[in-house]
């Protein structure tokens, strides 16, 4: 599955899709493949402040619990409630299964994130190690 070119990516395997001052955040297809069957997602409540590089929740698969890292700083405006009962949506289509929507604190933070091509290269290098 290709990585959408209009998204930005982190080395911790989150994606962020920004639209002006708003953005949605999820995990990449590569992340869901490594995790395996996802059984639970622990997400913050709307109104929570999240900080770039800090954890904002966790994703639990049958193998492990992994932290979710905020790609940028901002405030949570919406949480994808569907994932509470159907976390497998992340396995089915990671790039459309958004986890949280946020308002950005500083849109310039997006510039320091990886592009689709950079992320693809990063994943390939990581896998080759």
């Amino acid at each position: 599955m290709p990585f959408p070119t209009d998204y930005k990516y982190t080395k911790e395997h989150e994606w962020i899709k920004a639209d002006g001052n708003n953005a949605s955040v999820g995990i990449t297809n590569h992340a869901q493949e490594s995790l395996g069957d996802i059984v639970f997602v622990d997400l913050p409540k709307p109104g929570t402040e999240i900080t770039s590089g800090k954890t904002f929740g966790s994703v639990e698969s049958v193998k492990a619990v992994s932290d979710l890292y905020a790609p940028v700083s901002g405030t949570v405006t919406e949480v994808n409630g569907e994932l509470a009962t159907a976390p497998e949506k992340i396995n089915k289509d990671a790039h459309s299964a958004w986890m949280i929507k946020i308002t950005l604190k500083d849109p310039t933070q997006l510039n320091s994130l990886l592009s689709a091509a950079d992320y693809e290269k990063f994943v390939a290098e990581e896998g080759g190690k």
Binding site: F40, D42, E60, V65
Partner: protein, 447 residues
Amino acid sequence: MLQAMGARSIDDLFSPIPAEYRLERDLKVPRQMAESEIVDWFRERSRENGESNATFLGAGAYYHYRPVIIDSLISRGEFLTAYTPYQAEISQGTLQAIFEFQTMICELTGMEVANASMYDGSTAAAEAVMMAARLTGRRSVIIARSVHPEYREVLTTYAHHQNLPLSTTSFKDNGRLNLEELERSITPDTACVLIQSPNFLGTIEDADAIADIVHKKGAMLVVSIAEAVSLGIVEPPRQADVIAMEAQSFGVPLGFGGPYCGVIATREQFVRQMPGRLAGQTTDRNGKRGFVLTLATREQHIRREKATSNICTNQALVALMVNVFMTIYGKVGLKELAKQNLAKTAYAAAQFGKHAKILFPGSPRFNEFVVQTSEDPYAINSRILGHKIVGGLPLKKFYPELGNAALWCCTELTTRSAIDTAVGLVAESERSMKSAKEEVDAQEVVR
């Protein structure tokens, strides 16, 4: 060995130690004994144990009957040697036993999920409190002063490095929590309120009323149960968010403080913040019923420093004792057992009440009650020990305001003759102290 080290003698080896610090004589240890002498020595010592004594001690460690089949079953090699059953393929028996344990604990407590298990009732209570802090995101805890004082000490230790301020809330003259004070003390930062029921003073709390107050303020209610047998007749605190229990009463022997068997039971929605082992039932590829450890992804062997808890091992063998006990007694047997405890305690409290003051009247109790005397309870205890009776626990060091008070406990193993003897011995001194006091009073009137 000296040769290999290049030392000429033992003295040479110790030469770096200044002469004045060296011991110039033999150590004062007894001479060696033959094995037969050692066996004799220990036999002699074991006769000094008070095994035939009647005991009225409870306070978190209860003397109940242990069916003989418990030790026969847990001594089976498969159980006795089992460690954490990571490999489901070779651990079906252990996993099934754990699953049954959890199921019966849920039935007993009215909760939806239970783990198997924690170290003891105190660590279970502490872990339950940590759970509430994680779930609510709030950072302070209120503990009833009627919770076992040693459980409160364990909590203080736990909270010390967790940046979790603890405060206590008091009890009333009837032994129950002061609800008005409780309501006032809950703040928007209170993660949970921890109570014990039956509490340390033997009183059964009004858990429903407490739950209403706590929930209204958005906090969680953790209920500690130190005497598991009470669940045979006392309504479980179903309104609690977490129940932290000590299951020692169910077939675990009393011995120098352990091992015990802590349990946490909670609602399904909180399962991911519950520490400890959890066995689940599933079906294998051939559709046959099987058991596996489940929800282990938050445990420290997988998540290290981010684990839900660092309580790292379970008490499978001790939990198995509890499991066998619950199976043998069953619903009817447990109820009957609880009734016997209740009846003996009611009789004992009534008898003591004729000669001394029973504190906290008017509230329901299970198998413990507080007796206040004129005589110092330590003095009473050393006096009645001569009659092969272990008296109640003096409460002075925990609750100095109660004066000469002691916590007495009766179980199904307490005989009526032991109760009558103990009451008789306490009554003797109460009468003489009372008449001595009356004499003094009379003299003062004369003056």
